[in-house]
Subunit: 142 residues, 4 copies
Amino acid sequence: MQPIMTAAEINRFLETDFPQIHTDGRVFTVTAVEPGAVTMTFDPSERHLRPGGTVSGPAMFALADVCAYAAVLAHIGPVALAVTTSLNINFLRLPKPQPIICRCRILKLGKRLAVIDALLSQDGGPEPIAQATATYSIPPRG
Amino acid sequence: MQPIMTAAEINRFLETDFPQIHTDGRVFTVTAVEPGAVTMTFDPSERHLRPGGTVSGPAMFALADVCAYAAVLAHIGPVALAVTTSLNINFLRLPKPQPIICRCRILKLGKRLAVIDALLSQDGGPEPIAQATATYSIPPRG
Amino acid sequence: MQPIMTAAEINRFLETDFPQIHTDGRVFTVTAVEPGAVTMTFDPSERHLRPGGTVSGPAMFALADVCAYAAVLAHIGPVALAVTTSLNINFLRLPKPQPIICRCRILKLGKRLAVIDALLSQDGGPEPIAQATATYSIPPRG
Amino acid sequence: MQPIMTAAEINRFLETDFPQIHTDGRVFTVTAVEPGAVTMTFDPSERHLRPGGTVSGPAMFALADVCAYAAVLAHIGPVALAVTTSLNINFLRLPKPQPIICRCRILKLGKRLAVIDALLSQDGGPEPIAQATATYSIPPRG
């Protein structure tokens, strides 16, 4: 499974075509693209934090979702428009109010469905703070 | 399973203790509390919309999460602090850029775990736009 | 959403085309078909029981899966061959070693994907013993 | 996270305390135990096969469930009795009627909840046939 877009190309595409995910400044940045995998950093702003100094659940959901989308994009290109059909997320540990790294691995890239595993961690620590599995519907390609 | 808080009490509690979910104005409002169930309305603001005129996935995730939390709260009171441990969401139909109604039914309210079913719909239409199942960890009660 | 097969027709189809689910005698029986919903009874045999007198997890998984499949079948007919793509199950209460009733409601019946909610209960008791959400891939129809 | 049971000890425990999973002969065998992970082989018998020469969904569910249970057991010992509270499984590719290898990694081993990732493959092939995430409730330890 070979990627056909670079990290820079995906970041540019997200900025142009999904400006809404950057309403509060650029918080999501693809940092690496490998065969079958994409890594993204999320730099939480005030609005993503919660009292007690943690990152909100919806912010972690958004990170897993955008990163999984970027992983599909990286391998099928910006033409097709994949749509999230389901996402299952497990919150494992309370994150600190710091950047979160998400690594997405493509488990399946079929003609109609893609299934992606997302693992969220911080500080390069070995213990994940959340794990998600996302399914995307891929539109028919001409 | 009898609720011990009213809709007004839950709304007040969310406003006081979770101001961050109302950063963009009050978008989440509990409208009904029944035995084992809570109904919430989500009135999306600009930031929750997406090009093409739909509501974002993270916004629907947040709605299911807050409403499920409110359902637990309604039945165990504001003392305990339940934490989302997992959430599985299925996106069924593209929502219109309009208010979304979420109805949460408690499937189980145990000593340690609560499991809640959430059904999101619009316009009183019979066809749901999303379905979620959420699990909350309930801290030991004194 | 109108069903196009009766309970008797679905039972006959399962017997003819899926004899393997009846290896230990007929344990799964569709008892009702309604618009958008199917009800099935599972009568556990020795092999489905567990020490302590409960029903095994895989048996409950199989019940939710077969019943959801029957719900799709009831509405698109026996021609198409739907395949389970994902199933999320929550075990809520330990079942007694007695028949289990599963009610499946179709949340979405699209051209390519069907999403079904399954609720398992016993004794007509109001409290579910398990809840599942299943996704089926529907092959292109001619 | 250090295991406190060997593969042989877990196999013996499963045989003694869960004879029902071996009704058709010994089909589940732990082959490796590492810090935070357990690998299990499943050798399907006639009853686990389906027409067209594939392995049934419930059989793959059972494999993921037993292997995840073995992973918890390996790290907390045979005293505590963990119970599956939820399992989310994605079926990625049709398996061949051959042995399936399941590798379970513990994502979290808390005092009350364990979350385990399970990846099923065949032939040492790089492409998984199924992925599951399971949650276990761990009883209070004295």
